[in-house]
């Protein structure tokens, strides 16, 4: 056999083995691919079916959703209208709020003013009450003093009537005595009624209790001086003081100074005291 034939036989053997391996692999892979292709086709078919079903369902849902969208658009339009009306109402309410706040501020200012007025009136009422209390106390004291003075006046009037009666009796007794004694001898009594009687200031003192000035005057009951008789103390041409008799003796009396002169003239001993008419 030729060597070339042998080489060809060897190559043929090797190529046959390789071809068999390739054939086996190709057959297996092609079968697998066919089965996979069929499976894929089945899946594609089922997917297409489900897709169609899904499309149908989605079309139904889309219709429903479109209806809902249209309804919601209507609702949105209604809500927009409502929002617009609510915004207008809000604007009105805000203006009302501002007006209310302004009126509230004005009312608060008025309240503050009224409060101050009330406080002022309260203070005035308290002052008036205090003043009224003081006035009532003063009126009460005045009434008491008035009652005392009325009692004193009554006493003095009674005393005056008694003294007038006594004086009248004494004058009658004196006229009888003068008639009986005739016109000869003796001193003549000059009645004091209707004439000015004057005396001298013997002493000037101060009352230790009341602090008022007291003067002792040389006029007494013999001169017609009584308790309460008002005396005018003077110097020649100069008014010194007015005094009121508070105690009287036969020849002297003690008078309390009621009014001093405005010229600053002091009371001095030997000043003239005249009974005021």
């Amino acid at each position: 056999m030729h060597i070339l034939s042998k080489v060809f036989i060897v190559f043929a053997a090797i190529l046959s083995v390789l071809l068999s391996a390739l054939t086996i692999a190709y057959a297996a892979n092609s079968g697998r691919l066919v089965s996979e292709y069929q499976t894929s086709q089945a899946r594609a078919s089922s997917a297409s079916t489900s897709l169609n079903l899904e499309q149908t369902q989605s079309a139904g849902r889309e219709g429903v959703l479109r209806v809902q969208i249209s309804e919601l658009e209507g609702v949105i339009q209604g809500l927009n209208t409502q929002i617009a009306s609510l915004q207008q109402e809000r604007a009105g309410l805000e203006s009302s709020l501002q007006a209310a706040q302004t009126s509230r501020d004005a009312l608060e200012a008025n309240i503050a003013q009224f409060r101050e007025t009330i406080e002022t009136q309260t203070n005035l009422i308290a002052a008036f009450r205090q003043e009224l209390t003081t006035l009532r106390d003063n009126e009460l004291a005045f009434r008491r003093a008035r009652i005392q003075l009325e009692d004193r006046i009554s006493d003095l009037e009674s005393q005056n009537e008694v003294l007038t009666q006594t004086n009248r009796g004494l004058q009658e007794a004196l006229s009888d005595a003068q008639t009986r004694s005739g016109s000869g001898g003796g001193s003549t009594f000059v009645p004091t009624t209707g004439r000015d009687i004057s005396g001298r200031v013997n002493r000037v003192t101060n009352d230790s209790v009341t602090g008022r000035q007291l003067v002792e005057v040389s006029l007494g009951t013999n001169d017609g001086v009584r308790v309460g008789t008002r005396l005018t103390i003077q110097r020649p041409g100069v008014f010194v003081a007015n005094a009121e008799v508070v105690r009287v003796e036969l020849q002297t009396c003690v008078a309390e100074i009621r009014q001093m002169n405005n010229a600053g003239q002091p009371l001095l001993q030997n000043d003239t005291a005249v009974i005021s008419r």
Binding site: H2, L4, S5, F8, I9, L15, L22, E36
Partner: protein, 70 residues
């Protein structure tokens, strides 16, 4: 003695065999097998895993072919 040109009985000079018709048939067979291998390899590269003509897809795993255009 043959080298001296002497013809000895049974001493015919030995010659190499020459290609005959079987050699030609074997050549054709080898050529056909080579062409079949090339064609089948190209086809197997298209259906084999990762372009491997001799490989086989594993059962249960997804098919992974060679990238197209390579």
């Amino acid at each position: 003695m043959s080298q001296f040109g002497m013809q000895m009985p049974g001493g015919r000079a030995r010659r190499g065999s020459s290609p005959d018709v079987y050699t030609g048939l074997l050549f054709l067979a080898v050529a056909a097998l080579a062409a079949a291998c090339v064609v089948l390899y190209m086809a197997g590269s298209k259906v084999g895993p990762e372009g491997n003509a001799l490989g086989m897809h594993e059962a249960g795993s997804p098919v992974n072919l060679a990238t197209q255009g390579r």
